[in-house]
Amino acid sequence: MNIIFVLIPLSILFLIVAVIAFFWAIDSGQFDDLDSPAVRILDDDQE
């Protein structure tokens, strides 16, 4: 059972990485508009 003393801290490390990645994604505006990118392909091109 001693393996959990290694695996649990490792999982928490992953958690921290995931949170940092999400914070970065949110700050760079990736979650600001979840509706229009899906229909963007239907827009006319602008030069």
Binding site: M1, I8, F22, I26
Partner: protein
């Protein structure tokens, strides 16, 4: 933090000028965007805070969009001290920048999303540790494992409680400072107790930790708050869109040349050129040209109005035919359109608000919990000081108002998602609660109970003309084609035999044109046939609007147009009547059409020829009688009425301003979603009441046991989780009901 934008400055100076000429003191006016407005009580405390400052003249709080309209005397007080006072009392405020506060809203949304994410990921992690802890690892692999699991739970739960849960603590603190007990107080108390007890347990080798309950609770409430925030931001965006009806630029005449200028530079006295299809930029007088103007924005009249030189035109109306020139007499805040907007928003800010169940219950509940916990502690301290801590802990955990605080938001989220599936968008978080209490519905006619699109229902042809019905329809269709007139919609699917040549539109009268060398006219009886004294003019059904076809000398045919009922209108009114709700129809149309539609639907009160002011005072009179009123409408002219009603319902294809003033938007062409919303609101309130009852009953049974020391803290924790889960499950039934 506060930047007064260029737009704001202009607003301020306009307001200053206006008032200075009226009285001695100059006043300034601004719209503030304020965070932390949740309910009617917040509105009351904000106006108390602001009115407590000397020099503040008037305060209007608009709850659904979290905005405050304030006017003050700049020589006595500055805007900064007002913002400071609001900030100190837990309502951070900013002046509304031009183009809306989209940046602020986006920032709020991002922060809320981060909090939600931390809560969600943290909760999942803590749950896995909690499962291990439930299995009592100390009996398998010794105390070290158990202590380790508790420590990592603490590590993960700490950011969840203090980062994701921060808003609850801040709100609770401010509400206590204002000497109020609103829902955030028990929430903060619950999170705080569960967390503190667990930390104590971890380091003092206590019986049990409750990190799982604390994190789950923070997560579930964060989800609810996140949806609430989104609904508010959407409402704000719609308000902003409603302000943007006027074009960005217009054409000013400079010595016979039309020069394009930004609308902000438009001044009183300018002459502007308005092309067909363009929006008129300011109120004014027509000085050159003639045409038809669509004023439906202001008056709700769907027929274009004929305008000739010297006639008044209003900003926001659309020029349908021909190039016209307008001498502008008032711009910006002085226009009729701006006045309607102000009327709509002040009606929204001042309307009576139905109190929320949860807030009323919460205050008493928290007081009760604290009193019981304190008394228990005292009694046990005298009886058996050793057991005091564990008993008080049990009592606090048992009475933890998690279940109570979850009762309302989970039910509302479930109901909102059910509504979205049925085609109805909820923009005001307490819309459902209000709708369930409505006992009088006021319905608009055109575009609400009817489709707002005319249809040919009957045609009568004069035998002398030698034409048949099909020919007559085809001729009328060719003439109406491309006229842009709403009546032309009735002919849009009729096959045309030949295109009309030399077409002329006579505003307010009709259209003439040549088909295969013969001249035809379609329009009023006088215009089409030279006289309205004809056998065809008799016997027009009350629900129809007639138009005539002729050759200028003799009438050929009469075509009756009707506006069909919206699908679901009949069922909607029937459902309301079955639930003992009174219904009235308020229409701008003449009495014949209004009465015929009203009778057909079984509406009891029918009001015809109503101006927006008439409708507004009618709704106020109903509210004065103590009724909770819902209004269903779609036009800009309906906006003040939608605001004044306790709840407004409008349509997706309704105007932006109408949508900004409504708590519910029907996304389909039919009225069925509105009927469903009414039924769901009743069911939702039932569920909420059942949930609150459950939360209270659970406490009534378990608290005496806990107080007498019969419940171990871990049983209390399990019970708390179970009762929360029961409430979440009960609420989610709403989402899956058909």
């Amino acid at each position: 933090m506060t930047t007064v934008s260029q737009y704001q400055l202009r607003r301020l100076s306009v307001a200053n000028l206006e008032r200075e000429s009226e009285g001695g003191h100059a006043t300034a006016e601004a719209i503030l965007s304020v965070e932390g407005i949740h309910c009617g009580r917040c509105a009351v405390s904000i106006s108390k805070i602001l009115k407590g400052i000397s020099g503040v003249n008037d305060v209007l709080v608009n709850v659904p969009v979290s905005q405050v309209n304030v006017s003050w005397f700049p020589d006595i007080v500055g805007l900064d001290s007002m913002l400071q006072a609001l900030d100190q009392n837990g309502y951070p405020a900013q002046t509304l920048a031009s183009g809306g506060n989209t940046e602020l809203a986006a920032q709020q949304r991002r922060t809320a999303l981060k909090r939600l994410l931390v809560a969600g990921l943290g909760m999942m992690q803590v749950m896995t540790f909690a499962v291990a802890l439930y299995l009592e690892p100390s009996s398998v692999s010794g105390m070290a494992t158990e202590q380790f699991l508790r420590l990592v739970s603490l590590m993960v739960a700490t950011p969840v409680v203090f980062y994701a849960g921060a808003p609850f603590f801040v709100n609770a603190w401010h509400s206590l400072k204002r000497r109020q007990l609103d829902m955030d107080v028990p929430v903060a108390l619950a999170i705080g107790i569960a967390y503190t007890a667990s930390v104590a347990s971890t380091f003092l080798d206590g019986e049990h930790v409750y990190f799982d309950s604390a994190t789950m609770f923070v997560f579930l409430l964060s989800v609810a708050r996140y949806f609430d925030l989104n609904a508010r931001n959407n409402a704000q965006a719609r308000v902003q869109a409603a302000l943007d009806v006027l074009p960005a630029t217009c054409y000013r005449m400079v010595k016979d040349d039309a020069v394009e200028i930004p609308i902000q530079e438009l001044k009183t006295g300018d002459v502007v050129l308005v092309k067909p299809g363009d929006t008129i930029p300011g109120d004014g007088v027509l000085v050159l040209g003639a045409g038809e103007v669509d004023e439906s924005l202001i008056t709700g009249e769907s027929r274009p109005i004929a305008k000739n030189v010297g006639d008044q035109v209003v900003a926001g109306s659309i020029n349908c035919t021909g190039v016209i020139r307008v001498r502008v007499e008032s711009v910006d805040h002085d226009t009729v359109f701006a006045a309607i907007q102000r009327m709509a928003f002040s009606a929204q800010a001042t309307k009576p608000r139905v109190g929320r169940i949860a807030d009323t219950v919460a205050g008493f509940f928290v007081l009760g919990v604290l009193v019981v916990a304190l008394t228990t502690g005292l009694v046990w301290f005298i009886l058996d000081p050793d057991r005091m801590l564990s008993v008080v802990l049990s009592v606090l955990v048992i009475t933890c108002p998690c279940a109570l605080s979850l009762a309302v938001p989970t039910s509302l989220i479930a109901a909102t998602s059910a509504l979205a599936r049925k085609g109805l968008l909820l923009t005001e978080s307490n819309g459902l609660e209000t709708l369930s209490k409505v006992n009088h519905f006021v319905l608009d006619k055109t575009g609400t109970l009817t489709k707002g699109i005319p249809r040919v229902c009957d045609i009568k042809v004069s035998p002398a003309s030698g034409l048949n019905e099909k020919d007559c329809l085809s001729i009328a269709a060719s003439l109406e084609k491309d006229s842009g007139h709403p009546y032309s919609l009735a002919f849009s699917d009729i096959k045309i035999q030949g295109a009309a040549a030399a077409q002329e539109i006579h505003p307010g009268l009709g259209i003439l044109g040549e088909i295969k060398g013969k001249q035809f006219r379609v329009g009023t009886a006088n215009f089409a046939g030279g006289s309205d004294d004809h056998v065809l003019c008799d016997g027009v059904p009350t629900h129809a609007t007639p138009i005539f076809l002729g050759d200028g000398k003799e009438l050929i045919a009469r075509i009756d147009l009707v506006d069909d009922l919206r699908t679901g209108a009949q069922a909607f009114v029937q459902t309301l009547r079955r639930n003992d709700i009174s219904v009235s129809l308020a229409s701008g149309d003449h009495s014949g059409i209004a009465v015929s539609i009203g009778r057909q639907l079984g509406v009891e009160t029918i009001l015809s020829r109503q101006t927006p002011e008439d409708k507004l005072s009618y709704i106020k009179s109903l509210q004065d009688k103590g009724l909770t009123v819902a209004m269903v409408g779609d036009g800009i002219n309906d906006a003040p009425i939608l605001s004044q009603a306790d709840i407004g319902i409008t349509f997706r294809n309704g105007t932006n301003l109408a949508q900004a003033c409504s708590a519910m938007i029907v996304l389909s062409e039919s009225l069925d979603p509105a009927r469903e919303a009414f039924l769901i609101s009743k069911r939702t309130m039932g569920t909420i009441k059942a949930n609150i009852l459950w939360a209270i009953a659970y406490n009534v049974i378990t608290v005496p046991l806990a107080v007498s020391g019969h419940i171990a803290p871990w049983v209390a924790a399990a019970g708390m989780s179970f009762s929360s889960m029961f409430i979440v499950a009960n609420a989610s039934r709403l989402a899956f009901e058909r």
